[in-house]
Amino acid sequence: MEINKFKYYLAPIIGLSIALPILSLIIYFLIEGSFNFNFLKSNALIEYTKNTSLLIFGTFTLVLILGTITSYLSARFEYLGAKFFAITFVLPLAYPAYILGYTYVGFFEYRGILSDIVGNTGVRFDILNMYGAIFIFAIAMFPYVYILARVSFGSISSTVCELVSLQQINPIKAFFRVYLPLSYPAIFAGSILAMMETLSDYGTVLYFGIETFSVGIFKSWFGYGDLAQAINVAMILLVFVFGILWTESLIRKKYRFVSSTHSRKKSPKIKLKGKYNLLAFVISFIISTFTLFVPTGVLIYWFILDINTLDFNTFDYLFNTLTLNIISSIIIIILSFIMIYMLRFYPSKIGNITHKLSILGYSIPGAVIGVGLLILSSFIDKSLGFILFSGTFFMVIFAYATRYFASSIGSIENGFSKIDTSIDDATKIFGKSEANNIFKVYLPLMKPYIISGFLILYIDIAKELPATLILRPFNFDTLAIRIYELASNEMLYKVGFPSLVLILTTAIAVMLLNSRFVRRKI
């Protein structure tokens, strides 16, 4: 009986722990500062709100358009180069947004790479503004929509398609009236992910000169040393996040009908011919050029410029990145599994609340989480009287857990939802013990989802910068940190080599993830 009771607490404990850095931050500020209601009317708030809204809604829209076009093409048509483009569309996920920012600045700037290609120093494009930022975020994030919507478009049941062709509905009308609405949930889910990631970004927006809430937090904190101000902005950011999540769950409820129109029987892809074939190719090529070929080309160009002075310490950073990343991902996915398992079998109201708390970190800037952890560990170490946590790997891994729990939870929840509750009953009746059930039934059934969750975590963690920067132990640099330092030194061309190495690892993870989605192993 007592062990049973403990099980009810396990999920809440995990959820609460993961949210702890954010909570300790709030508590710290509540003690040190106070909410300044005048701030709500201030110009600064209007600026931040305006900029943040513009940025995330702009990104949302562009991501939606890019993601929908590319996923529709890949899911429903066979055309020239389709298989190749199915990979190029998903690869931008391997690129950190800030690297995309650097490469495009290098490409479009005065006497940049584009002007070299064209041979005219007058050819340049100023992208360090809102439009440039939206463009960069859209490139970095549209693969989220691509992956989800592609599955959705691809599994629209053949009966729907036959109905469309029987009624001789013109293909464009069919797209807007039938196929697109059926995939709203997937498209929307991907776009929301993109929005959350954009909200939490700090490095890219700072570089592009966009004053968002994240920037506001840092300006107040480090610029003015004004903690009260920083909390004001941070609180409003959280309100923003809640608003988005709430809207998302409302809309998700509305679109529950999809299950009947999606079946295992897929309809065959339509083979495009003639001008449509060419059109599909051209559209795909243009999109891929901007989202993949240009950034990669710039990185390779920089790598070649650097080729005689390659810093082979890069491989040390690679080793650090890989070990830290893999260990963290394993720990986080285990915690996710435990939490969702416990919530399924030992549900509780507080469990649900802490579950929602635990995924907040996804839209909070990494540096905010970093400082929250600093405060937390410092408090613990002071109370204990000796250093237990500060400056250890534990801190960095904890930060990753808080920041990226949402990523792995998504996969795990998806997997558990595919296991019918009658299996739960059967294992309760027939199984030897709960532990035996977990190892013999749930883990094997969840394996594909655990692997996918692991890959998603790996990709996210590899790109992380700010929390790692603040929390890592001495003498430990990752590739992301190295890239940041080089860019800060404004030695952009030296960024090429470590970026390519980093992206190679994340690209492998992306490709693995992609093939799992394509083969429906999800």
Partner: protein, 335 residues
């Protein structure tokens, strides 16, 4: 858990093999610094452990860690950051004849808590085809109507500009400083964005005529591998402002020993090393910063720019006014 311990053990073990160690929190992330730490290790057998991060984050980290901080030294750029660390009681006094010999008194704290290691000047970089250097004088003159739409610099949130504005407050008072800010902003070609290097490029591209930047960026561009950068750097000229009045604003990057340092002796040794001729020469050549040690010459490129009158106001005065500078920048709408 086991792997975590293993990783931690490796880190710990490697430091145990040296004869002591020193733990550094540094904002600087130049390769030349890495070289210097290695040299120090070889010379003294003391292991140098480094964590780099943004300056404000390091100060925050130190403040939060309090007595439990593992850091022995804080190395950071910008007097504002050093002053903040001192103000928040994060540093301790250091008695060192060597440091007093190697570093001129105006480049170190009178209370012996921080020590300058490199010097940089904040100058004008201008397009010689469009601007007659005879028209340029001091920082305040940039507000002149004839420069409307021709001036750029990076964000006011950047430490270098904060300190520049703080120096103007210290030299001319708050009212004049606010006037200056408003006038400067009125003359911007566009809202501040990008880095110092982007400002230099913008002048070369014709987007603006005058930019306010730090000297060493120009030096780095002139000596880099990218021919384009070299061409760009060659197409602009440098001007040392305020020669007839207060002198060109200078800033430092420097170091201090943390209040709760566990390896104070080693820390002092490291700072002394960084102030030595050997180290100073590497700072000078590697980054084209001005060395603080008067016995060491600047790099060839830098020397070619000529000597100039420095603003010799006490750096602590500048640091004191940093917070005010932020207020004034906000009021004057310098983004």
């Amino acid at each position: 858990m086991i792997k975590k311990l293993a990783l931690g053990a490796i880190v710990l073990a490697s430091s145990l093999f040296a004869s002591g160690e020193v733990n550094v929190y540094s904002h600087r992330h130049y390769d030349s610094d890495k070289l210097l730490f290695k040299t120090f290790e070889e010379k003294t057998g003391i292991k140098v452990n480094v964590v780099t991060a943004k300056a404000e984050e390091l100060v925050s980290k130190l403040a939060i860690e309090g007595a439990n901080t593992p850091a022995d030294i804080l190395i950071t750029a910008d007097i504002g950051n050093l002053y903040e660390a001192k103000d928040r009681k994060l540093l301790q006094t250091v008695e060192s004849k060597t440091l007093e010999e190697n570093i001129p008194s105006h480049l170190r704290d009178d209370k012996k808590e921080w020590f300058g290691l490199t010097k940089r000047a904040r100058v004008f970089v201008y397009n010689p085809a469009k601007v007659n250097p005879a028209d340029l004088s001091d920082y305040l003159s940039l507000t002149d109507a004839k420069f409307k739409g021709k001036v750029i610099t990076r964000s006011s949130t950047n430490a270098y500009n904060k300190s520049l504005l703080a120096s103007i407050i210290a030299n001319h008072g708050e009212t004049k400083a606010l006037e200056f800010t408003k006038g400067l902003v009125a003359n911007f070609s566009y809202d501040p964005k990008g880095s110092d290097r982007d400002q230099i490029r913008a002048v070369a591209a014709g987007d603006a005529d005058i930019a306010i930047v730090n000297t060493y960026y120009l030096g780095v561009m002139l000596n880099g591998k990218d021919q384009k950068d070299i061409d760009i750097a060659n197409s602009v000229k440098i001007f040392f402002p305020a020669q007839k009045t207060t002198g060109t604003h200078i800033n430092i990057s420097g170091a201090g020993v943390t209040l709760h340092a566990k390896n104070k002796e080693n820390a002092v040794k490291l700072i002394e090393f960084l102030s030595s001729s050997e180290a100073q020469a590497i700072f000078a050549e590697g980054n084209h910063e001005y060395p603080v040690n008067p016995k060491v010459k600047a790099s060839g490129t830098v020397v070619a720019w000529g000597t100039f009158k420095e603003d010799n106001i006490a750096l602590n005065e500048i640091g004191k006014n940093t917070k005010k500078a932020v207020e004034i920048a906000t009021e004057g709408n310098w983004k």
